[in-house]
């Protein structure tokens, strides 16, 4: 045995904080010898555990004797197995088998488990005797290990013991038999597998999962002959087996089973029908469609809905006319389900059916068809929609415009702008504006859309011009902004108001200088107010760099008068973790209307300035300001925080 000193030195190498696998074959043998030496030494539990972990990767039969000697050691038995389980060759199996007769309790349970992992066929006989062990954990582990070995001999041992198995061990024994049946079937021994499954099916007092698994196995092992067994289960009154049969049916392809399940549909109660319908949908076999069509047309609520929902999952074109027929069903849930299914139905046949409705249907049908055109993204129907946008029926016009906005591209813009110029009713105007906005939001080429929109501005009537200005917000880009900017001075109040609204709704900070100019120079107080508030919103926007936001706050500080605006200013400043922001905030501590807001903003900014890798120092004035905030705030917690941050700064 090595000395403790030598061993400790080596083990420290092993027990570094990071694993170091993959030593290479050349050194593996030498490494194994060193690790074995650790195990033979008086090294610590940790050192030996580390050695075992490394041995799991590289050990050979040379390591087996020392590892086998550790199996009875309750502290090291697991790590010994950890190393042994992966060692190739029979030496490990011999050692595990030998240990069966010498161990008990947890070490024995572990060794039995490892024998199962290694599927040592020679262990069947010694294991068989342990099936009746008084220690339930030992008996259960044995049953599972025999199952993993999974040969006929193991199956016989489990079978023989099953009749007298204590209830507490029953599931483990069943597990063992399941494993045996799976192995036997994989080896082509189907009859033996079937025998096991049938025995488990007939087992008195078996828990539901065992009966479900046994049915599955029995059906699958029988191949085509299993269909009748599956159908019998569906016809039965045990819902565990009904569910297991449905689940199993999803694993078996073929028209015969589809037909059998479809034939059962009319004979079953509603709850079983739904389960069967969902199973047929998952099987995606068109052979089920006639039965599903029938239920989709005639069944009561939930069954009917389930049958309809299967149709796109199966995806056969013959279902399209059925779905179209159901679109007009008086039952709203049926009609809505059919609409959803038609919207997502795969293939061109569904699109053709929708296109036909769009051109030949009644008003109601055309409205539904237009929705489906959009949901199916039927770009080929855009010309029809364009025509419908001038339809004499207002509902058709509105729907067509909406769908044009959702589907149309740049090429639709001239037509929509033409409609805008001619629109006379407010409803039409509003629908066209919405359509234009939707289209502009989707078309990536802002330059092209804005150019076309701007070209229409000059000749447009005021109402149209106002609508165009609002659409320009969606189009975006510098040209659009310039057009909006120019319209701020439009003599028509309606146009000017729309321009102010557009500026205020602008989606990028490029509008901020215009908003500031509006706040400073607008003719009316309300426009000034709108400009200032819009400007302050950008001053608080996280997408604008903090130094620029601080600059904006300084600009705005000279303009704010109303309490609401002061609050907006303080909110903006509260998000800027810079000394300049803090100084600006502290100016408002004397303003009774916003004192509390100023205290919150000041403490927040000061705390954040003190955080991070490079905390910023506070000036003496700022510290004094925070102390003042602590005094004037009504919020005790805030006062505490103010004092704390001031104290920390000092």
């Amino acid at each position: 045995m090595l000395t403790a000193k030598f061993t400790l030195g080596f083990a420290l190498l092993l027990a570094g904080t990071m694993v170091s696998f993959g030593q290479g074959n050349a050194s593996a043998k030498a490494q194994e010898a060193k690790l074995i030496a650790v195990l033979k030494s008086d090294a610590s539990r940790k050192e030996k555990a580390d050695a075992c972990r490394e041995l799991a990767l590289i050990a050979s039969a040379d390591a087996v004797p020392v590892l086998a000697g550790m199996l009875a050691d309750e502290q090291l038995t697991h790590m010994a197995r950890y190393a042994m389980e992966t060692i190739p060759g029979s030496a490990v199996d011999d050692a595990f088998r030998a240990a069966l007769g010498t161990l008990q309790g947890r070490p024995l349970v572990g060794v039995i488990g490892s024998i199962g992992v290694r599927r040592d066929a020679k262990a069947v006989q010694p294991l068989s005797g342990l099936l009746r062990n008084a220690d339930a954990e030992v008996a259960q582990a044995t049953a599972r290990a025999l199952g993993s070995i999974g040969n006929a001999e193991a199956a016989k041992a489990l079978n023989d013991a099953l009749a007298n198995v204590p209830a507490a061990n029953q599931v483990a024994f069943c597990e063992g038999l399941f494993r045996c049946a799976e192995s036997l079937e994989a080896r082509g021994e189907r009859k033996q597998a079937m025998g096991i499954y049938d025995k488990l099916r007939a087992l008195p007092s078996a828990p539901q999962q065992v009966r479900a698994g046994a049915l599955r196995g029995a059906v699958l092992a029988r191949g085509n002959d299993g269909v009748s067994l599956l159908v019998d289960a569906i016809r039965g009154s045990d819902f565990v087996l009904v569910a297991a049969a449905a689940r199993t049916a999803m694993e078996i392809p073929g028209a015969a089973l589809t037909k059998a399940l479809a034939d059962e549909l009319p004979k079953q109660t509603a709850d079983k029908q739904i389960l069967l319908i969902q199973t047929l949908g998952k099987r995606a076999d068109a052979g089920a469609l006639p039965a599903l069509f029938n239920l989709g047309r005639t069944a009561a609520g939930p069954v009917r809905i389930a049958a309809i929902r299967d149709l796109p999952e199966i995806g056969h074109a013959s279902a399209v006319p059925v779905l179209v027929e159901l679109l007009w069903n008086a039952d709203r849930a049926v009609a809505e389900t059919a609409r959803t299914c038609l919207a997502g139905f795969p293939g061109p046949e569904a699109s053709s059916a929708v296109a036909a409705l769009l051109t030949k249907g009644t008003v109601e049908q055309r409205l539904v068809a237009m929705e489906l055109v959009s949901r199916r993204r039927m770009n080929e129907s855009i010309p029809t929609l364009r025509q419908a946008a001038s339809d004499e029926d207002a509902r058709i016009r509105a729907a067509a415009l909406k769908r044009l906005g959702e589907l149309g591209g740049l090429s639709e813009l001239p037509a929509l702008l033409g409609l805008l110029s001619k629109a006379s009713s407010p409803d039409d105007l509003s629908a066209i504006e919405d359509s234009l906005s939707a289209l502009c939001a989707r078309v990536a080429d802002a330059e092209a859309t804005s150019s076309q929109l701007i070209a229409q501005l000059s000749p447009a009537k005021p109402a149209q011009k106002a609508a165009l200005l609002r659409v320009l917000v969606t189009a975006g880009g510098p040209k659009s902004l310039e057009a909006v900017r120019s319209s701020i001075k439009d003599p028509k109040p309606e146009v000017r108001a729309a321009a102010v609204e557009a500026l205020n709704s602008w989606t990028t900070p490029e509008a901020a200088p215009d908003l500031l100019a509006l706040a400073k120079t607008a003719g009316s107080p309300s426009e000034k107010q709108l400009g200032l508030r819009g400007y302050l919103r950008w001053a608080a926007d996280g997408e604008v760099p903090p130094p620029r936001r601080l600059e904006m706050c300084r600009e705005a500080a000279g303009l704010v008068e109303r309490t609401e605006e002061k609050r907006m200013l303080l909110a903006a400043l509260g998000g800027i973790n810079q000394p300049g922001a803090l100084s600006l905030i502290l100016d408002y501590l004397d303003d009774g209307a916003v004192r509390e807001e100023a205290c919150v903003a000041a403490v927040t900014v000061a705390e954040r300035m003190g955080q991070g890798r490079t905390p910023r120092k506070l000036t003496a004035e700022q510290i004094a300001g925070l102390e003042k905030a602590a005094q004037v705030t009504q919020n005790a917690e805030l006062a505490r925080r103010a004092r704390a941050v001031a104290a920390a700064a000092r």
Partner: protein, 449 residues
């Protein structure tokens, strides 16, 4: 009903013989498929206005619900057809916190608490489904134990520690016909679904590269040190043996149980697993590789796996990316094709695209997906719907296992510091004995499967 003694000596109803239909409706989850239609059919169709009678709710429980789990639970509780009745946790403070959340939600004191998972599963035969949100080390084992006990499972991610654990989850779910969903909720969020569908439908041309985010704070290299031993608290406060579960023993230190387990080889799946479990499934979905794993892993000589190139059987590359190069924000992914690219990450109002035209069909693409699959844009709702219909959820065991196999193989590539080839059919590394030995880890007794 027979009362039996469990291995723990607890009395419980371990076996049920046969159920009458009504009994079943009260207990088993499939009842929902029959009557609790609002999740599958609009409530208005039933005249229930969305209400679900108590007897038709999914009886629901929790295992290991911490911070993330509580977030998911709060997401689940408003679903009208579930009733959360019990929580199991090795930590008293955690189980009591969850009880408080549930009791506050229902306005009663009915949520029961359990320390021992075996006792919880043995006693609560009334529970149909469980939310599992333990740390990485317990996700697979708890899922297997729960499914073996007849529960359907919603498991938080990363859902396995090794390739072998993932295989066991797949096998168990099949064996007992259980519904299992891993918590890769972005598979049910419209921005990510849109990107996946754009890639799958060829709207970007044939996608040649996808990018998936890995955690920007952790490393691929793992820690093995033990924190200083502290006195073990009473079992009722923290059951340390159970907390460790299948992992190698180490002395108690409260930091582990407070979230400090991350970064340790025994407990964590590295920065690759930490976020690969959030992103790989979406990337694999977009390239139609949800039923396979990457076959090539190219080692990168950095501590994190950043820029590692993996290659799938169809030739598409998936590149692991740590930073914000391909997106803004967390859990990003991107698909590149000859005709454009799409990318999404958390918090996007809409995906980023190479041309705005690619977004024109956003609504249609998402709606088509929903109609074609009958899946909602809610991951938890998808799970509850499937509990009732017995369909496979979007993040079913195979999806979990195959995407997590990519995670594990990428980790092994980083740990062995060499390029790897992986055979996703045989589920083994090609010609690399050491790598194959890292596909599993012996589980600590008695937490063996």
């Amino acid at each position: 009903m027979r009362k039996q003694t469990s291995p723990l000596g607890v009395k419980g109803s371990l076996a049920k013989t046969s159920l009458t239909r009504r009994q079943f409706l009260k207990r088993a989850s499939v009842a929902g498929a029959a009557l609790a239609m609002p999740c599958i059919i609009p409530g208005s169709a039933l005249g229930l206005n969305g209400a679900v009678p108590p007897s038709e709710r999914i009886v629901f429980g929790g295992i290991g619900i911490g911070g993330r789990g509580t977030g998911v639970l709060r997401w689940m509780l408003p679903e009208r057809d579930i009733q959360f009745v019990a929580v199991c946790d090795a930590k008293k403070s955690a189980r009591e916190a969850v009880k408080k959340v549930a009791d506050n939600h229902y306005g009663n004191q009915d949520c029961k608490t359990y320390r021992d998972i075996r006792e919880f599963l043995a006693l609560r035969t009334d529970i149909d489904a469980v939310l599992i949100a333990t740390g990485d080390r317990w996700h697979a084992l708890a899922s297997i134990l729960a499914m073996r006990a007849g529960k359907d499972v919603y498991s938080e991610k990363p859902s396995s520690m090794t390739i072998a654990e993932g295989q066991a989850v797949v096998a168990t779910a099949k064996r007992y016909g259980r519904v299992y969903q891993t918590g890769t909720q972005r598979l049910s969020e419209e921005n990510f679904v849109f990107c996946i569908e754009m890639a799958r439908q060829g709207r970007l041309g044939k996608v040649h590269t996808t990018y998936a985010h890995i955690a920007p704070w952790d490393a691929a290299e793992m820690k093995h040190d033990w924190l200083p031993a502290e006195p073990e608290p009473p079992k009722d406060e923290v059951d340390w043996d159970q907390w460790l579960g299948p992992c190698p023993w180490r002395p108690y230190n409260q930091a582990y149980a407070r979230g400090g387990w991350r970064g340790y080889y025994d407990f964590h799946t590295s920065c690759i697993g930490e976020w690969g479990a959030h992103t790989f499934a979406q990337a694999q979905a977009g390239i139609d590789c949800l039923n396979t794993s990457a076959t090539e892993y190219h080692y990168v000589n950095n501590p994190t796996g950043d820029e590692m190139v993996t290659v799938f059987p169809n030739g598409v590359k998936m590149i692991l990316s740590r930073g914000d190069k391909w997106w803004r924000g967390s859990c990003g992914m991107r698909f590149d094709g000859p005709e454009g690219w799409v990318a999404a990450a958390d918090g996007y109002s809409r995906p980023d695209v190479s041309s705005p035209k690619l977004l024109a069909d956003f609504r249609k693409i998402v709606a088509d997906y929903m109609a074609r699959t009958q899946r909602p844009m809610s991951h938890v709702r998808d799970f509850f719907d499937c509990v009732k219909s017995r369909r496979q959820p979007v993040a079913n065991p195979v999806v979990m296992h195959r995407s997590m196999s990519t995670v594990h193989a990428a980790n092994i590539c980083m740990w062995l510091k060499r390029d790897m080839k992986y055979d996703p059919v045989k589920e083994e590394f090609v010609g690399d004995v050491e790598a194959n030995r890292l596909r599993s880890r012996a589980m600590r007794e008695p937490w063996i499967i």
